[in-house]
């Protein structure tokens, strides 16, 4: 059974292939994403994040999910040498770069806790996988062509627990420059896919490596539990040394 809804400004698709699947479980999972949007959206004036940014809630009264996401953001900031930061130039919190992967994982755990073992949750192109697909095989996933959303340019296979996240900005008004030489424009990256131990891990690093530009693939290459596939504006893809194994269904 498979269902897609538009929530948090993106399509969210859940497919569960366990025999015991029922409508109710989809309802619960989508409800959870609704809660996440209500709590974490910096663009909703009545969200908890907006209230925190207006200093209407003191730190000791923050909701436990907010605290958990902020801790994860701080950890990611340290692990990525400051590339990842949920605090913007005005000192306001904007956790959108990390909350998606975290929420997908939480929703997946909710589905798992209710006894389902073979499913995926795809929110805006970031996916958490569990178990096997409808044919009893490893879940397959296509990486979208950033120049043509109807095409895929790579197929990867993800095992139980694995997650994938793609960061990109296909219509870019901004470019990244080398701070040591402003005239030198760093090669423009249009799409950066990260495979990780789970979707939350994949998502937080996808955000950071995309901001790193071309160095992002080297950064990821030194982390063996992650794999990456980066596409530049000329249609050239760069991949981590371990990426190939994910293209083999039986690895």
């Amino acid at each position: 059974m498979k269902e897609t809804r538009l929530l948090m400004g993106m399509p969210i698709t859940i497919e569960i292939v366990d025999e015991a699947v029922n409508k109710e479980i989809f309802e619960k999972a989508f409800e959870y994403f609704g809660y996440i949007d209500k709590t974490f959206s910096p663009f909703k004036p009545d969200s908890e994040i907006s209230k925190i940014n207006r200093k209407e809630i003191i730190e000791s009264d923050w909701n436990k999910d907010i605290k958990e996401v902020f801790l994860l953001a701080e950890k990611t900031k340290q692990e990525t040498k400051g590339y990842f930061d949920i605090v913007d130039n005005n000192g306001k919190y904007n956790p959108s770069g990390i909350v998606k992967g975290w929420a997908i994982l939480k929703a997946s755990q909710l589905i798992k806790d209710l006894g389902f073992n073979n499913f995926y949750v795809n929110a805006g192109g970031d996916v958490q996988f569990f178990g096997k697909n409808n044919d009893g095989k490893t879940w397959s996933i296509g990486i979208k062509n950033p120049f043509n959303q109807k095409e895929i340019v790579k197929v990867v296979y993800l095992k139980d627990g694995n997650g994938i996240a793609t960061s990109g900005n296909y219509i870019r008004g901004d470019h990244i420059y080398n701070p040591n030489d402003r005239k030198e424009k760093i090669e423009d990256i249009v799409s950066f896919t990260v495979i990780g131990p789970d979707v939350c891990e994949a998502d937080r690093f996808a955000t950071a490596v995309f901001a790193m530009g071309r160095d992002g693939i080297n950064f990821l290459n030194e982390m063996p539990e992650y794999a990456g596939y980066m596409i530049n504006k000329n249609g050239i893809a760069y991949m981590t040394n371990n990426f190939d194994k994910y293209t083999n269904e039986n690895f």
Binding site: G9, T13, N148, Y177, N218, A237
Partner: protein
């Protein structure tokens, strides 16, 4: 599926190939991003030209029966999880000749500080379209839905 979605899907059909094209354009940093609505631009854009410039038809196009009034119309701001989205349409001879994106979010805000790193040898390849069937797909977060909302409000002014 909600009424709202049905309504905007109808609009997407009306706009033809625009949404397919929307994602291909790499915009030079010094100008407002401009997306051309000419459907002939849709095919063969893989990869896009390095110096993409906005294409505005120089010859007038024949007005269509249900054409829009000529002019430039700015749509309302639609709020996505990642920030405000706003579109502007340019109507000439009753047809939409340009869609401009006035505001659009980056799907992953993060700081952009750079550091120097050594460059190891990294495997590379030219991307190629695959025909395989897959269970699901991964790509950057789509904001198309919000562009449709904003364009919808611009269109209501033009009709």
């Amino acid at each position: 599926m909600s009424k709202k979605i049905l309504l905007v899907s109808g609009l997407a059909v009306l706009l033809g190939g625009f949404f397919v094209y929307e994602k291909f354009v790499v915009t030079p940093s010094n100008q407002t991003p401009i997306i051309n609505n000419d459907q002939t631009q849709v095919s063969g854009n893989n990869p896009p030209p390095q110096n993409t410039t906005p294409v505005v038809p120089t010859t007038p196009v024949a007005p269509v029966a249900s054409g829009f009034k000529n002019g430039t119309y700015t749509g309302g701001v639609a709020q996505s999880m990642y920030g405000p989205v706003q579109a502007q349409i340019v109507v000439s001879s009753g047809k939409i000749v340009n869609v401009n994106f006035l505001q659009y979010p980056n799907d992953r805000p993060a700081s952009l500080r750079k550091s120097q790193m050594a460059m190891p040898v990294i495997k590379q390849e030219v991307i190629q379209s695959q025909s395989a069937n897959v269970n699901t797909v991964s790509g950057a977060t789509e904001t198309s839905y919000y562009f449709i909302q904003s364009i919808s409000s611009a269109l209501s002014q033009a009709s």
